[in-house]
């Protein structure tokens, strides 16, 4: 991928601070990533690894206790961290949109589908109600909802989960954003609907030249959908790079463990390997590498010093001492992340 990235995160950190300021949770810790137009970036990690906080950080829709403490988010040449709330509001839904994971809860039960789908068009483009509704009908058609005309006047409870999630998707693309962030959009859908929905997202991406950030814990989906992958553990990106390379030759022990824990169909002899232990308590992080307590290749120095991001190939980094180049161990940082 050539040219400047669409979105470039540079050592971005978001912390949750308790009311007394005594407990600090580094939910997103020095994350460096980038994504180009038309590309799909998968972000995987266990629950609580900071994936969703990262997504909410990009849109700056964080809960009151969370603060972006450092870093930059360059989007189309502008730093989103320094934008005012009002400027940010014009980015949300218009240039960057997001799909939430729970289709049953993310639509307002008291307003019609037409109202909710046309809302961003009316707010961001100042369209009249009638025009916005016409476009909403087109959007429902685009996400393959049958008889969109009647659906527009219906309420969320009159629809199935799969249909609602497609409507949330329609809201996402309503103003033709440049970047769409999908936070586990298929977790609560059943398998056949999941496949349909993923195909739909892929089609929309092609049709609109969207960049897509796909947050999931399903590595199968990553293999199918994504070009780039970032693996998160305890708030950090521990490995990132092109999906095919990471799947073939994972550099970080955590990525390896994740890949080994995927069940393989038709191979009854292969036992599933679980990762022993629990993710660390994010408010009292151990010194050194946060994965060290669970790592099978742990070395003494892992418990002392935190590994920096080492370049392990073209556009690939790994935060692991094993990836340290043999030549003197010089710390090599990458400016452009996974690009």
């Amino acid at each position: 991928m050539t040219g400047a990235p669409l979105l470039e995160l540079d050592k971005l950190s978001t912390h949750y601070v308790s009311a007394q300021g005594s407990r600090v949770v580094r939910a997103v810790d020095e994350v460096t990533l980038s994504i180009h137009a038309g590309e799909t970036l998968g972000i995987v990690g266990e629950s609580g690894s900071g994936k969703s906080t990262l997504a909410l950080t990009i849109l700056r829709v964080l809960p009151p206790a969370a603060r972006i403490v450092s870093g930059r988010m360059m989007f189309e040449g502008e730093d989103l961290v320094t934008k005012s709330d009002e400027e940010m509001r014009h980015v949300r839904g218009k240039r960057i949109a997001m799909i939430l994971q729970d289709p049953m809860a993310s639509l307002n039960p008291l307003f019609t589908i037409g109202d909710q789908v046309s809302e961003p068009i009316r707010v961001h483009e100042g369209e009249s109600r009638a025009k916005a509704w016409t476009r909403a009908r087109e959007l429902l058609k685009a996400v393959r909802i049958p008889s969109p005309e009647t659906r527009l006047t219906q309420y969320p409870h009159e629809m199935s989960g799969g249909m609602r999630q497609r409507i949330v998707g329609a809201i996402g693309i309503a103003c033709e954003p440049r970047l769409l962030i999908a936070d586990e959009p298929t977790t609560s859908l059943d398998l056949t609907i999941q496949a349909q929905y993923l195909k739909l997202l892929g089609d929309l991406q092609k049709a609109h030249g969207l960049a897509l950030i796909f947050i999931t814990h399903n590595l199968g989906i990553v293999a199918k959908m994504c070009d780039q992958l970032a693996v998160m553990y305890a708030g950090r990106v521990v490995e990132s790079g092109p999906v095919s390379q990471i799947f073939n030759r994972p550099a970080h022990p955590y990525t390896r463990a994740l890949l080994n824990s995927i069940p393989v169909m038709g191979d009854p002899d292969k036992r599933l390997t679980a990762i022993d232990g629990q993710p660390p308590d994010m408010s009292t992080m151990p010194p050194g590498c946060s994965f060290a307590p669970r790592c099978t290749s742990v070395m003494p120095r892992c418990r002392e010093a935190e590994p920096p991001p080492f370049v392990v190939g073209e556009g690939r980094i790994s935060r692991c001492w094993l990836a340290e180049p043999a030549t003197g161990g010089a710390e090599l940082r990458v400016a452009g992340g996974v690009a």
Binding site: V61, R89, V91, G93, L100, S106, N108, P109, P120, H124
Partner: protein, 306 residues
Amino acid sequence: MKQYIIRRSSYSLLSLFLLSLTIFFFVRVTGDPATLLVEPGASAADIAAIHQRFGLDKPLWTQYGLFVWSLFQGDLGQSFYYQTPVFELYLDRLPNSLLLAFVAMSLSLLIGIPAGIMASVQVGRFWDGFGKLFTLLGQSLPSFLVGLVLILVFSVYLGWLPSSGAGTPLHLIMPAFALGWYFAASHMRLTRSSMLEVLGSEYIKLARLKGLPQSMIIAKHAFKNALIPVLTLAGINVVVMVNVAVVVETVFAWPGIGRLLYEGITFRDFPIVQGVVIMGGGMIVIVNLVIDILYAIIDPRIRLES
């Protein structure tokens, strides 16, 4: 479902029975009404005549039986003092009580809902703190004290408002406020917590992600959802208001049902006290019964538990 309604209704009847029993014996503990109905120094014969006239000479259980029997026939009895049916007196005063309740309710909603929204949007900041003080005072200050302070300030010192009676809109202001404050506080608290719950929901998050202005998120998406429980409470509170206005109606000499009850108590007018209490209790029992049945219709889990 049918079984549930039958069971629930029999509970309601049981509560009404216990209420009738309690109120019947409690009023009789207050003393002999005959002594208040005759001239001072009246002869024992006169008093006995009055006892006989009102059936107070019969054994208590017989009196109670007669009371319940006439209740079943829809008769609340006849006032000792006014010499007219209690039900007529009740209907006579009802419009005044409803008017006061309506104004106090409107006031409580007009104050409580916006204040609750402000507090929820400003959690932990000035308006939330101010709101907490407002609810604390509203729910802990007795309404007679509020009433007396209002009279002292607005009638005695400032001379702006009439201290008692009914007839003009000016007469309504102080009693409505004294009665409405408590309810404004309770509506405010519920609006605040209901708003906070709604503001934490996924659809509000999506509204934010859509880039809607904060004012639109609050006024359109959050408010409408948060209003549902508040309106439910307000509906129940109207009934409660009509019945708890005794103190306020007494302080401001407002000719409503509460004042009627107060008169009944001072004159030991047993039928009035019994009648007003049974009517009030009946209303509350019926409202609760209807709500319980509605919940069971809405939520299948409640039906299954029975």
